[in-house]
Amino acid sequence: MNYIRQLFYDMRHQKMMTWVSIGGTAVSIFLVLVFFMYNSLPTVEVAPETHRQRIYGAMKLYVELTGEGKEGWNASGGLSYDAAQKLYGDLDGVEAISYVSSGSGSINVIVDGKPPVSSIAIGVDGNFWKIYNFNFITGRPFTEEECLNTTRPPIVLSEKMARHLFGIIDVVDREVNIGGRPYVVVGVVEDVNPILRNTWADVYMPLGEEWRKGWDNQPAYVFLGSLKVLLLYAEGTDPENIKAQVRSRYATLNSELEKLGGKTQYDNSPYDAETMGKNSWSKSPTVTNIAAKRWLVYALLLLLPAINLSSMMRGRLQHRISEIGVRRAYGARRRDIVGQLLGENFVVTIVGGCIGLILSYVFMLFFSSAFFSMVDRWSSLAAKMATPTFSMLFSWQAFAIALGACFVLNVLTASVPAWRASSLQPALAISKNKS
């Protein structure tokens, strides 16, 4: 109570310094929260990716040739269906496995001889619809058998694409033409936010034979292909246990590869939602210690402003040295003074924190797409269109982070000036300045 009153008093009598303190805190909390929210987007669980914490992925394979005259030859790419099954099929602790195209591509869709419409497509198998919770506005998903149907394969469209192509949404059983082949629409799903990278597309194509085969330019490259694997772990599965199984599958694959004149290296897969988007196609992928880097950023985002805010705090205290002396004269212990000053400054921090919190939401909801395309080289196409929704950003963790950051910032900012002010000889403090 008195802490809040002190804030109002400071706002009136030390306007400049109080507002700079609040503003500096707000900026710091803003940056912390934007960083947190940006990092939480790969793991936030919203439809259709409602089980993101349990979905792991494996998206590449590295093969090196061993034959004579082939030293230094190597390649990495997606997996062939055969390799994907050998490495990741039927693992203990996995509830479902889905094979999908390793990237998204741009294709032309033609309806009734109208001009082609360019759209983003991914190829998915029948299980894809089981590990994700798509909302079908009309129709249904396609099955694994239908995927391999070559005469009139099925296709699923996004709501936006259905409307674009046909002008209406209810387009089940209508036909579209892609690459000279007719497809029949079996369902239309609600649009997916581009931030959800495993499920976002305009067109969901069935994963036919042509997606599933391996490379044919070298015998040992037969396990390379164009697929990635998505695994839904059973509740309570230990990811390390899965990795151990995959590692031994790699050993088996290696003995097969040896006969074909090649070898591979286990790449620490499957990756969790967090790591999935971050892995490059390099030869020996290291799952870098993301958490450690992240803590470093948080520490910097709090520490740098804290240095400035700390000198602000010292400035604000200058005016109150004699008050502190008087309190000491009347029986305040050193720790009473430190506690009071930390408490008062916490009010300043909380006010700044609330402002920062609001600003971070405003920024993420309205201005973040430009920012994403700047920081996110990996999928700039999706990123340019990506604006997170409120439900993606709204989490108790964000509030906890904000509050925690306020606590840390307060202690970093106030403890040293407060301790110093409290350590002054009371007689000296009282005579410092008139109140």
């Binding site: 008195n2 009153r5 002190q6 008093y9 009598h13 004699s322 008050e323 002396g325 008087v326 309190r327 000491r328 004269a329 009347y330 029986g331 305040a332 212990r333 050193r334 720790r335 009473d336 000889q425 009371p426 007689a427 000296l428 009282i430 005579s431 008139k434 109140s435």
Partner: protein, 224 residues
């Protein structure tokens, strides 16, 4: 019976360039219930003496015994508790806390005292404000009061915790003679009616002559 006992007290201030001997070999006994005034030219060490008696500062050498307690042995929280219980301060420039209203300023010593409930605190503050004729100013901020009123609030604060000793450093220095007289009357009342020991620094001969004893200082030394 001596309530304040100083023995061979020296106080040296060291700054980068100079050493100031603010107090030199001071020996002083003040009896319980005495009203003592301290006089001397500016810079002779009066405030320094009062700060040392009030445990706001420590002597460079010598011993300070207050109410038979050796104060040199106390740590920070013991000193704080001792000041809180036994000593009240009145300053020349009042030193009220500007962001707190009158009753909050007066309540200050009780806030730092262990085991005083909010209702006890309110009652004690009400009583002392009524006694000093400030009841109608309880919600005012110090900035809204006259100098004389401020000093009365400061005196209320000094005695709300019922200390045996009141230390006053030029309590009338910033007041005109009428308000100064009011403050002196109050101090005499605290001495006569309550039996509090009062040590007051003053430059005013007439005020000093009204007290039980005058101690004169010159250049850090007691001359009388």
């Amino acid at each position: 019976m001596e309530i304040i006992k100083l023995k061979d007290v020296n106080k040296v201030y060291r700054t980068k360039e100079i050493e100031t001997l603010a107090l030199e070999n001071v020996n002083l006994d003040i009896k319980e219930g005495e009203f003592v005034s301290i006089m001397g030219p500016s810079g002779c060490g009066k405030s320094t003496l009062l700060n040392i008696i009030g445990l706001l500062d420590t002597p460079t050498s010598g011993t300070v015994k207050i109410m038979d307690k050796m104060t040199a042995d106390m740590n920070d929280s013991q000193l704080s508790a001792f000041r809180n219980a036994n000593i009240g301060f009145v300053f020349q420039s009042f030193h009220l806390i500007p962001s707190l209203n009158v009753s909050e300023n007066v309540a200050l010593p009780l806030v730092y005292r262990h085991g005083v409930s909010a209702s006890e605190r309110h009652k004690l503050v009400d009583d002392v404000l009524r006694r000093l004729g400030l009841s109608h100013r309880m919600r005012h901020l110090p900035g809204q009061l006259s100098g004389g009123q401020c000093q009365r609030v400061a005196i209320a604060r000094a005695i709300v915790g019922d200390p045996k000793i009141v230390l006053a450093d030029e309590p009338t220095g910033n007041l005109d003679s009428k308000m100064g007289q009011e403050v002196m009357d109050i101090l005499h009342k605290l001495n006569k009616e309550d039996g509090r020991t009062i040590v007051m620094v003053t430059h005013n001969e007439a005020q000093a002559r009204m007290t039980d004893r005058i101690i004169r200082f010159f250049d850090g030394r007691q001359v009388e």
